[in-house]
Structures are given as C-alpha cells and as structure tokens.
C-alpha cells in the first residue's frame, strides 16, 4: 500500500513543473524588453537649455509648467526619427491645449535647422542637447523617445520608438487629452 506521503512525493515534481509552466505561459504574452521609465510620475529633472535656433532666452523647467507638453527626443542622424516626423507635423491639428517641445539629442544645431527647413518644423520650441546631458537625466537610452508631461511638470507617460499615426491616435493623443482636460 502506498502511503499518503509517498503519493504526495510522487506528485510533487509534476506540481512544481505545472507551476513553472503557468509562469512561462503568462510570460509569453509579456515583453521583457519594455522597461518602464523610473521617472514616471516624477517631476521633470532640472535643466537649462539653449534653443534652436539660438536665442538669448534659455529654456528651463518653468516652460513646462502651465501647459501639457509633449517632449519629443529626436536627432537628424536617427532614421526612425525621420520616419515619425510627419506624424508630429500632422499632430499639430489635434493639439489645442498642449505644446510640442523637441529635444535635439547629441546633434548639431546647424544640421537640425537645415533638416527642419527641409521637412517642416512641428515644434513650438526646441531644446539643444549636443552632449546628451539632458537626455541622460531623463533616462533616454535611444532615439526617438516621447514624453508626455502634465501642467505641473510631472512626467506621466513615456513612449519608446517611432510614433506611427496609429500610435498617436490610439495611445498618445488620449493620454494628452487626459492631462489637458
């Protein structure tokens, strides 16, 4: 006769395996490469940036207070940024209470100005970050990346990668409207 203990011992490996299997199954629907930004729901880091084109005025955190801001990190050397550029140009139609600020990341202002002249300029303001220092403080690790910042200057959303029209309509615009309301 088999004891209860022996019976449980025999079933134990199967039970452990089934538990692991459930984790693996759920894990299939997760993407391990998406890492949430540690800055979510925290205020934008302090900074001072020159503008492109260069003016005497410096952009600071104050420029993010009072209006919902879309902060788009881009570069002329980045192919994906070119791909999403037209989406930003189009998006201006949808923006009533929000502003788009561009962050020129590790780029030359001269190249940026030429590029915008050729392809259009969707940005209300552009911050110049030639060394990438502001980008580092924001936790940027690739371009393009887009942040949605509310009226109090708190980072509420981070989108990594090129924004397609579908991404804009279904994901980003609703977020903007949520905080602009």
């Amino acid at each position: 006769m088999i004891t209860t203990r022996r019976f449980l011992n025999l079933l134990l490996p199967l039970a452990i395996f089934l538990t692991i299997l459930i984790f693996l199954w759920i894990g299939l629907y997760r993407n391990p490469r998406i890492i949430p930004s540690p800055l979510l729901n925290k205020p934008i880091p302090e900074f001072q940036a020159k503008t492109i084109p260069e003016t005497t005025r410096l952009l600071t955190n104050q420029d993010f207070i009072g209006k919902v801001t879309i902060l788009n990190v881009f570069a002329t050397w980045c192919a994906a940024c070119q791909a999403e550029h037209s989406v930003w140009i189009e998006s201006r139609h949808d923006l009533k209470n929000a502003q788009i600020i561009g962050l020129s990341y590790k780029d030359s202002s001269f190249k940026v100005m030429n590029w915008l002249k050729q392809y259009g300029n969707p940005y209300d303001q552009i911050m110049d970050d030639p060394q990438g220092q502001i980008g580092i403080n924001l936790g940027v690790y690739g371009t393009p990346e887009t942040f949605i910042i509310d009226r109090q200057g708190i980072i509420r959303y981070k989108f990594i990668g090129a924004v397609s029209s579908a991404d804009w309509e279904k994901t980003l615009l609703p977020e903007v409207q949520k905080y602009a309301a």
Binding site: L10, L21, L28, R30
Partner: protein
C-alpha cells in the same frame, strides 16, 4: 523542386515516427516480436528521410537558392562556402531541423548498439524517442518550416548571415552542443520505458550509463566550444556571462553530471532508483526547457533567436505534453521504484548522495536566477535583470563542498568505510595542500590574496587526491592497475581541478588596458610591449574594414605581430570586431581594435590572460574521462538475457 523534396521527406519521416510511437509500444505490451522489431526499421527510415531534408536544405544554401525564405534571410552570394553550409543551423527553423536530425541519429545508434538489450526495452525506448521526434516534426511542418518559398518576387541576393556567426565556431559548437542536448533524450527514454514496463530491471542503470555518459561528453564539449568561441569573438576577454542561453546549456549539464553519478549508485547498489529515474526525466526536461527559452522571446539574451508568440505557444504545449506527461507517468508508476540496501554515513553512497544534492541545488540556483526576471514580471513586481553578481555569489559556495567531497569520495568503499582508516591520509594530505598553497607562491615569487590562497587550496586538494587515486608513491609514481572506468573518473576529476585552476589564475592575475595609440606608439602590459605599426583598410569576401598591425615583444625580444580588425558587413548592415589573440599554454595575449579617435589614433583594448586555456583544457579532460569510462569492458560484454518485459 529540391526544397519541396526535403519538405516531403519530413512528411514521410513523421509518418514513420507515428508508426514507431504506437506499434512497438503495443508490441512490448503484448509481447509481439514483429511489432517490437519494427521500431528498428522505422528508425532507419526516419534517419534517411530527415537526412534527405538536411541535404536538400544544404543544397539550397550551396547553390544560393534565394527563393527559399530561410536561405534568403541567412545567406548571401558572397558569404564564404563554409558559412553558407553552416548557416543551415544559423537561425530557428534550420536549427530545429538539425535537432530532429540528430535525434534520428541517436535513435539509429540505439538500434546499432543494443544487441545485449531485451527487445521490449529497445522497442519502448525507440517509441518514446519517436514521440519526441513527432513533436519536432510537427513544429517543422506547421509554424517553422525552413522550406518556405518567397514567390514570385525572388530576392536577387540574401540578407547575409549575422556577422557574429561568421566564425569557425559556428561549424562546431551548435552541432556538438545539440548532440549533447538531444542525447539526454536517450536516458530519458530509458527511464520512461522502465516506468511503462512496470518494473525496473536491475540492469536498467547499466544500460543507461554509456548513453548518458556520451551525451554528457558531447554537452561538455559543446559548452567548452561555446565558451572558447565567445572569448574569441566578443572582444571582451570574457568566457562565461551567465546569459540565459548559456544557462540553458549549463542546467542540463549540472543535472546530467548528477545523473552520471546517481546511475553509478543505482547500478552498483540498486538504490536511489526513484531519484535516478526522476533525474533522467529532469535532465532532458531542462534540455527542452532550454530550447523553449531560447526561441520564445521570453527572456532577454544576446543569443536568442527571433521571437514569435505562436512558436512559443507550440513549444509550451510540447513541454506540457512531454514533461508533464513523463512526470505524470512517474507519479502513476513511481511506487514500483523502491530500494532496500542500506549504507552507513561514511560510505561511497553517502558521498555520491551529497554530490547529487549539491549539483541539484546548484542547478536550482541557476534555474531560479535565469527565470527570476520572468517570475517578477509575471507577478507584476517590476522589471529586473539577474546577472553575474547573483550567479557568482550563489554558485561558487556550492562548488566548494563539492570540491572537497569529489577528491576523497573514491577513497570510500561501498556500504561502509570506517573513517579511522582514512583519517591519517586525509589529515596528511590537508597538511600537504596547505603547505603547497603557502610555499608555491613564495617560491615562484607571486603575490597572492587570501581569496586566491583559498581557491588554490581547493584546487590542490582535488588535484593531489585525484592523482593519488591513479598513481602510487611506491616505485616513483607508477600508475595503478585500474579499470578504464576508474581512469575515466580520474581524468574527469583532474579536468575539473584544472578548469578551476585556470579560472582562479585568470581571474586573479588578468590584466587589461584601454589605450589610444597612433602608428608608432607603444604600450606595455606586464613584461610585454605592444607597438602599433599600421592601421590599413582591408577587404574580405562579404565585408570591408580596418586592420591594425601590432608588434608584440617580451622583455625586449620580438614575439609576434597581431592583426586585430574591425569588419563591416554592408549587406547585413552590421559591424563586428575581430580580436587578435596569441595563445599560449600559460597565457593569452589579446588585442581588440576599437574606434578611430582624433589625430590618426585608434582605441585599443589589450589583455593579458594567464592560464585561460586551462579552463577549456580541463573541459577536454572531462570529455576524455567520459569516453574512457564508456570504453570500460563491462559495457562491451554481450550478455544474454531472458526476454524480460
């Protein structure tokens, strides 16, 4: 037309596998000789047809048939011939085909080397292997066919093989590693066959051992090759990164090592039966789990194949069927696995028991670390990564007791060995080890840290005892008269000691410099001087790049000129660096070329790596040990059995 023939051949193979999965099992149950024998013939059929599939795929690569999607994605007309051939296993679909082809190879080997086994056992083993093969054939025929065509727009040329794979390592590492992974299906099949038959033949362990050992040898060799390849290819001088895919090969290795030792106990003493059967299931399950992890996209790794949730689901279903099924069979039939013999605390059984405990816990530790990011993510606790700090802290302390026990276990007899007989020997060797560890560095005038001293003690402990098992002090270290299997143990344990020695020396005494050099500049590292002569453009068959010429001299005497390169592959749109290595028995010198800096200078990384080859030499000795053990006469004796069910 030819790729379609290959595709059709797989259909034929799966049909044979279906027959093989059903009829021989039935034959074993009702003692029908014809049904049981059938398994041998269907096996050869599977081998031939899967072989045809491999040949047609190879043909597509060799003639640059870019209408085949897999060829177009992984090859290029300028890719050197040898890599066009190896690209067969360069990505997901082709490597699956290799997997199942190797499985048919192992099945065929069983038909050839099973003369002394009862037909019913062979029939059941081949049936179980056929079930596994069916899973892979289904995978290949549904979501992962290497024979899909891109029509009507055939690309003019292919996307080229990933530049990192364009290295001689690709010719050896995957096939040998797969021989190991797949090979553990054989002890698995033996275990399931035994459970299905309803009783565990006393000779079951003896039959399983050679197959397990050979699979283990291949896996060890595959891991050694992978480590050496990473060292050569990646340019950081590292040889093990605890990457999830590396762990995927290490987990079955740890379980397999435990299995080899557990089988020894079961064979000799008829105990640990339930544990050994479970461990055999576990080793192969880890092998399958590894296959799943690499291809499902569930973990982040530099090695992983492109992910596809549909494939992941299929594999998960397969895991559920095979592993869940075998553990269910274990739960159902396991109660027949009882043991009766006793042993005392100080006996070989105890030591091997501890060996298994330590190796199994080590395996669980690595498994936990590998799956932990997934567990945390699924439980919505965040996103983390687990890397070398965790593994090193957890794994090393488990190896320490293993080293202590490994050295002295062979001194203990089966059943009982009073400790007092061995006490003098143990204490005197301890004294010798500590003195050597203290005085050797003094004599060789090298500085050591406490950590290194401790590590050296462990290494010397293993080396000295293992040498003692093989040589006698009388007559000046004459070899003892031992069985081949005992020489195998000595070689394998020496191998572990040598690997450990290589590890501690290279960790303690490696040196590295990041420098910027313009032509004419030189840099010294230890007693070596590295002078940059030139940096010139080069052209390869499917790449262009820059090559530096670095003259190395030792204490003023010219030694060699090294040529590190940066290669850019335009079709693949990717670059890799080719490090230049001058290898030696006692040290490697390693130079990697970086990026151009201002004023015609280039960045370089220079390494001095002492004893690093010993890490892999030790691995080779382990493989040799396994082969010696398999050569032992007792496995070659043909024994006549009653026809046992």
């Amino acid at each position: 037309m030819t790729p379609e023939l290959g595709h059709f051949a797989l259909f034929l193979a799966i049909s044979l596998a279906l027959v093989q999965a059903i009829l021989p099992l039935r034959g074993a149950a009702i003692d029908n000789w014809a049904y049981m024998r059938l398994a041998r013939y269907t096996t050869w059929g599977q081998f031939i047809f899967t072989g045809i599939a491999m040949i047609t795929l190879a043909h597509a690569f060799l003639v640059n048939d870019f209408s085949v999607l897999y060829v177009a994605e992984n090859s290029n007309s300028h890719l050197p011939l040898v890599y066009r051939f190896c690209a067969i296993w360069g990505a997901h679909e082709g490597s699956l085909l290799l997997w199942v082809f190797i499985l048919t190879g192992w099945m065929t080997a069983i038909t050839l080397f099973s003369r002394s086994l009862p037909e019913a056992i062979v029939a059941r083993v081949l049936a179980v292997l056929a079930v596994i093969a069916i899973g892979f054939y289904l995978f290949l025929l549904t979501t992962s066919s290497p024979f899909d065509r891109i029509l009507p727009n055939i690309p003019a040329d292919g996307a080229d093989l990933n530049p990192i794979l364009q290295d001689p390592g690709l010719a050896l590492h995957p096939p040998i590693l797969y021989m190991g992974y797949v090979g553990f299906a054989v002890p698995f099949a033996f275990a399931i066959a035994a459970l299905l038959s309803g009783h565990l033949n006393p000779l079951w362990a003896r039959w399983s051992r050679p197959w397990t050992t050979i699979a283990w040898c291949f896996l060890t060799l595959g891991i050694v090759l992978g480590s050496a390849w990473a060292y050569r290819e990646l340019g950081w001088g590292g040889w093990w990164f605890w990457d999830p895919v590396e762990n995927a090969s290490f987990l079955p290795w740890l379980a397999g090592t435990a299995l080899i030792h557990s089988l020894a106990v079961t064979e000799k003493r008829q105990i640990f039966k339930a544990w050994t059967v479970l461990l055999a299931v576990c080793a192969f399950s880890l092998s399958l789990l590894g296959t799943f992890l690499v291809r499902s996209g569930i973990l982040v790794s530099v090695h992983s194949f492109a992910a596809d949730p549909q494939r992941g689901l299929f594999m998960l279903g397969f895991l559920l069927f095979v592993i869940g099924g075998s553990l269910a069979i274990y739960a159902w039939r396991g109660r027949m696995l009882t043991s009766e013999n006793e042993f005392s605390l100080w006996s070989r059984e105890s030591f091997l028991f501890l060996n298994n405990v330590l190796l199994f816990v080590a395996m669980l530790t690595v498994l936990l670390g590998t799956l932990y990011p997934l567990i945390v993510d699924v439980l919505n606790l965040g996103k983390i990564s687990v890397g070398p700090p965790y593994f090193n802290i957890m794994f090393m302390p488990l190896m320490a007791p293993l080293f202590i026990l490994m050295a002295i276990a062979p001194l203990f007899q089966w059943r009982e060995t009073p400790l007092k007989h061995l006490r003098t020997k143990l204490l005197s060797y301890l004294g010798i080890v500590i003195s050597l560890a203290t005085f050797l560095p003094l004599i060789l005038s090298i500085k050591i840290t406490l950590w290194f001293f401790v590590g050296l003690c462990f290494v010397l402990w293993v080396l000295l005892f293992t040498l003692h098992h093989g040589l006698t002090w009388k007559k000046w270290l004459k070899p003892r008269r031992l069985l081949l299997s005992q020489w195998g143990m000595i070689s394998a344990h020496l191998g572990i000691g040598i690997t450990a020695l290589g590890i501690i020396c290279s960790i303690a005494y490696s040196q590295q410099k990041d420098v910027s050099m313009a032509p004419g500049d030189s840099v010294s590292l230890g007693h070596y001087l590295f002078q940059l002569r030139t940096v010139n453009p080069i052209q390869g068959p499917n790449y262009q790049g820059m090559q530096a010429a670095i003259a190395v001299s030792y204490q003023g005497n010219p030694l060699k000129v090294l040529f590190p390169e940066q290669r850019f592959f335009p079709v693949a749109n990717a670059a890799t660096a080719k490090a230049a290595i001058t290898a030696g028995i006692f040290r490697d010198l390693y130079v990697a070329l970086g990026s151009p800096l201002a004023n015609g200078a280039w960045s370089f990384r220079i390494y001095y790596k002492p004893f690093i080859r010993w890490i892999w030499a030790g691995g080779i000795m382990m493989v040799l040990g396994g082969l010696l053990a398999v050569g032992d006469r007792r496995y070659r004796r043909k024994e006549v059995h009653e026809r046992l069910a």
